[in-house]
Symmetry: C2
Subunit: 114 residues, 2 copies
Amino acid sequence: MKPKDLPIEQKIKYVQDTLYVISGKWKLPILLAMNFGARRFRDIQRAVPKITTKVLSKELKDLETNLLVIRTVYDTSPVTVEYTVSPYCKSLKPLVDEMILWGYNHRKKLITQP
Amino acid sequence: MKPKDLPIEQKIKYVQDTLYVISGKWKLPILLAMNFGARRFRDIQRAVPKITTKVLSKELKDLETNLLVIRTVYDTSPVTVEYTVSPYCKSLKPLVDEMILWGYNHRKKLITQP
DNA sequence: GATGCCAGTTACCTACAGGATACCAGCGAT
DNA sequence: ATCGCTGGTATCCTGTAGGTAACTGGCATC
């Protein structure tokens, strides 16, 4: 069964699932910062302006639950925690590119014909 | 200037713009109901289970602001109001298809390797 | 032994999306 | 006249995302 053949309510459900994973104020900025090299908790916090520890902590857990981020604890002293973007995370790229494109064109559209 | 060449903060902004337009509990179900033929306010309300008049009213205004829906008032007696999906709304299709696909695969992924 | 860094947690608070319910004016049918 | 349909508004309420600030335990440095 391919997604194309699904009943419409199922399609909406899958769209909602996708929205749930990537929406919110911080998910994409965090993934971005990590792509730019930030791996430690505090590094990510510094790389994402204005985010608080509580929110970062929660968002990282969400991202980990959704397999987009991998959390590794090294048994050093003190313990070192590393967050990395998973290979699976790359599967989001076509979607994110599509969203950038639509957002870009939409803004132009709203400006030219309000 | 193509979206590909934009600085990353701009890309995030466009993604947020896109999210703002299509996220929320009701926007897609409403567009769907309209695609299935509902045009009058009460028809749409009946076609979208559980939505309240207040929320439908607000969502239709948002969709109209974003040029996805066209509101036409006919000078009959009593007045008839028709909502239709705009041609521009079709530009969302690649994005929505991408979201259905990602959501579908993601759910499979979460089930097979939790 | 005091200070500071790391990786968070906890408790409390605010703003906003969305929900429940009631209501309005205008008209047509009974 | 009164009931019901239309296209909504107005009020009040709840739930959740996100924000503020303080705090913890372990280690390292001064």
